[in-house]
């Protein structure tokens, strides 16, 4: 009898312990995310996550800001290799092949299986999905996505006698207008440059825009062949170099990605090319009238898409994958996407987001917010190949060696192509 009571008590205690732990066993998700632009981005993300956690008490999300895109990839992959729990991340859209090569991610087709999920997957702009598809599957979901746009100082345009509502539409116009916009002081030193295109951080991205405009993409769809030494590419790099060397409208040497926005805001350059993700920060910081337009054309208009996608990692358990999916669906819903776009300047990722009342009104008041979206019709996928980091670096080095005047475009790009061949051959 006594023994039976002991058993009963033991059973109760056990049940309480187990029950207690079950109630606490919320799914915990860890994610890394990058910030590549100015403004209080981390705060925006934290607020969105707090909202999600409130609506989904069973899921906890810990978001870790991990630096720029490259830093974040490095940290996420290192965490995975060290068996630390990280279930999802916002990483470069172009890291797709690299992440596949490392066997790190699962395709969304395996996680998002219901009819509703499938519909959600097809709700994004097709041009943003180009960097998500490989081997017939969808591996990434667009989140902080951008294109390159041209910011220009309307006051400077007026001062130089140019029409502030007519930004340059072609390469030739840009070089000519920039010459008028470049201002020198009495001793001949430049106080305001005509145009600046950043060449650190993501030089290949800016360069890809020039190449698309000149009529050629830099790589094939399978990500195992590059075209760095084609004449169109050489010509594009020559134009970029000429802006400094021939037209004298851009400073010699490389132009820093991170500080360029500040230079634009202080009137040190009349035009800058930058990600649309900077739009809100520019709007808040500009003490002058500024405009935003699509990039100019050589043979055609064009900009690569850019920015980060959500990925789900293979190491996540089935339960964690579902929780991740829920979170990603929340973050990419039209309302949140609209809010994110207004807070940063990144494009909202679905047509539905632009139909939300808030964003519709915002765009009506501030038409610049729609430029990046309107540029989608000309945009193509960003450079993405196998061993992307390595190949990208070859191109970055070539670009910088030309912009600093160390090598002529043909030699630098020829060497980069040769080395890229060696890296990519095993993937054919």
């Amino acid at each position: 009898m006594k023994q039976m009571w002991i058993r009963v008590w033991c059973g109760i205690v056990l049940a309480v312990i187990l029950g207690g732990t079950a109630a606490q066993a919320a799914v915990e998700l860890n994610m890394y995310y990058p910030v590549a632009v100015g403004g209080p981005i981390t705060k925006v993300i934290d607020d969105m996550i707090a909202e999600f956690e409130k609506a989904n008490p069973g899921i906890k999300v810990k978001a870790v800001y991990a630096g720029n895109y490259d830093d974040t990839r490095v940290k996420a992959l290192a965490a995975i290799k060290a068996n630390q729990p990280v279930q999802l991340s916002v990483l470069f859209s172009i890291d797709l092949f690299e992440l596949m090569d490392q066997d790190a991610i699962v395709p969304f087709d395996e996680v998002a299986t219901s009819a509703e999920d499938k519909q959600w997957l097809s709700s994004f702009y097709p041009s943003l999905m180009q960097n998500s598809k490989a081997k017939g599957k969808i591996w990434g979901v667009p989140f902080q996505r951008s294109t390159i746009v041209m910011y220009y100082n309307k006051d400077a345009f007026k001062e130089a006698g140019l029409d502030p509502n007519k930004p340059p539409a072609t390469w030739k116009e840009m070089a000519e207008m920039a010459q008028k916009l470049t201002k020198k002081d009495a001793s001949g030193n430049v106080t305001r440059w005509g145009v600046q295109i950043p060449s650190t951080g993501y030089p290949y991205w800016m360069f890809q825009a020039l190449c698309i405009q000149n009529g050629l993409e830099l790589m094939n769809q399978d990500g195992n062949q590059t075209y760095f030494d084609k004449p169109e590419v050489v010509e594009a790099l020559q134009y970029w170099r000429d802006l400094a060397a021939k037209y004298k409208v851009m400073p010699e040497g490389t132009v820093d990605w991170g500080t360029l926005r500040q230079k634009f805001l202080e009137g040190a350059t009349a035009i800058m090319w930058h990600t649309t993700g900077n739009l809100t920060a520019v709007r808040e910081g500009a003490k002058f009238d500024f405009g935003v337009s699509m990039l100019p054309a050589s043979k055609r208009r064009g900009s690569p898409t850019g920015g980060g996608n959500f990925y789900i990692f293979k190491k996540a358990t089935a339960e964690e994958r579902q929780a991740s999916l829920k979170f990603i669906k929340f973050m990419t819903s039209p309302e949140l996407s609209a809010r994110w776009s207004m807070a940063t300047g990144y494009v909202a990722t679905s047509p539905a987001a632009y139909k939300t009342a808030t964003l519709e009104k915002y765009v009506a008041d501030f038409p610049a917010a729609a430029v990046a979206r309107d540029q989608f019709q000309y945009s193509v996928a960003e450079l993405a190949v196998h061993e992307n980091a390595r190949v990208k670096k070859l191109l970055d080095d070539a670009i910088q060696s030309v912009l600093t005047g160390a090598k002529p475009p043909k030699d630098a790009l020829g060497a980069a192509q040769q080395q890229a061949e060696r890296v990519l051959k095993p993937y054919r």
Partner: protein
């Protein structure tokens, strides 16, 4: 059974050494050996497992122009930072060792760069160097000089990193010299004054030799720092433009964690270790002879 006295002492000694030895083997020696072996294998990729490739990685390295460039950069960087930061440290130490109004403030000021985190400091210097709107160009502007892309010009990018490193390290080394200077007995100076030795003569013939142990320590540390500290590169230049400001360790980081080519990164690490080992041995062998320990 009782252990005899000698064995007991021997066991005792090893037990005392054990904790440190285990940590050293686990986190220093084992990785070194592991890295050495990894340098003879290829990096595994999806569908291509790692295999023994002999000296292929080393052959690749000999043909890798970036490797030679960063190696050259690193020696330039060492030559540019070590003598300058050590001399400055000595100068500052002698200066704040003397009787001087506001000595504590000056000492603190010299030491401040050392206590600031490198990443924070690099972010501040980034805005010093920024063309047109940066501090440096603003000052140059006063004198009517044109703005210059300091970090964007391969000719100045590395020098910019060196200036930052000297600024950061000199205060740290100053502390060691200051401690050593205060350890020098004032009787020596009194004796020298009586003998009629000038201040410069006294400094050269007495102070400097007595500081040699400190100098050895500081130089060894400065050398290691010049190969080991690359934090500021991440913020200031990312090694650019076109690798002009990349150092060996930064390149290793890129190869290992950006390209995930761990085998080649191991190969480069072996070279870095060989260089550092070689330098340490030479320094101790050569300078040790000239060092006078009291």
């Amino acid at each position: 059974m009782r252990l005899n006295h000698k064995t007991a002492r021997w066991v005792n000694a090893w037990l005392l050494l054990m904790p440190a030895a285990v940590l050293m083997v686990a986190f220093t020696h084992f990785p070194i050996v592991g890295g050495f072996f990894a340098s003879f294998f290829s990096t595994a990729r999806q569908g291509r497992p790692s295999k023994f490739v002999g000296l292929d990685n080393y052959a690749y390295m000999m043909n890798d122009s970036v490797f030679w460039q960063v190696l050259g950069n690193n020696f330039l960087y060492a030559l540019g930072t070590i003598p300058l930061s050590v001399c400055l440290a000595l100068l500052m130490a002698v200066w704040v060792n003397g009787r001087l109004f506001g000595r504590a403030v000056v000492r603190t000021a010299y030491f401040t760069p050392t206590i600031l985190p490198m990443i924070a400091v690099a972010n501040i210097w980034l805005f010093f160097y920024t063309p047109q709107i940066g501090l440096l160009d603003k000052i140059r502007g006063i004198f009517g000089l044109a703005s210059h892309s300091w970090l964007g010009d391969p000719g100045t990018a590395l020098a910019c990193l060196m200036v930052l490193a000297v600024w950061k390290d000199a205060g740290f080394f100053m502390i060691f010299y200051l401690a050593a200077l205060q350890g020098i007995s004032p009787e020596l100076e009194e004796a020298a004054v009586i003998e009629g030795a000038g201040r410069w003569y006294f400094f050269r013939q007495v102070t400097l030799p007595l500081l040699m142990p400190t100098t050895l320590f500081v130089v060894v540390n400065a050398t290691i720092n010049s190969f080991k500290l690359v934090d500021h590169i991440f913020i200031l230049t990312k090694g650019g433009p076109d690798n002009a400001s990349s150092l060996l360790l930064y390149y290793i980081y890129e190869v290992a964690f950006s390209f995930w080519d761990t085998a080649y990164a191991s190969t480069l690490t072996v070279v870095l270790l060989a260089i550092l080992g070689g330098l340490a041995v030479t320094q101790f062998a050569y300078l040790e002879k000239r060092v006078h320990y009291q």
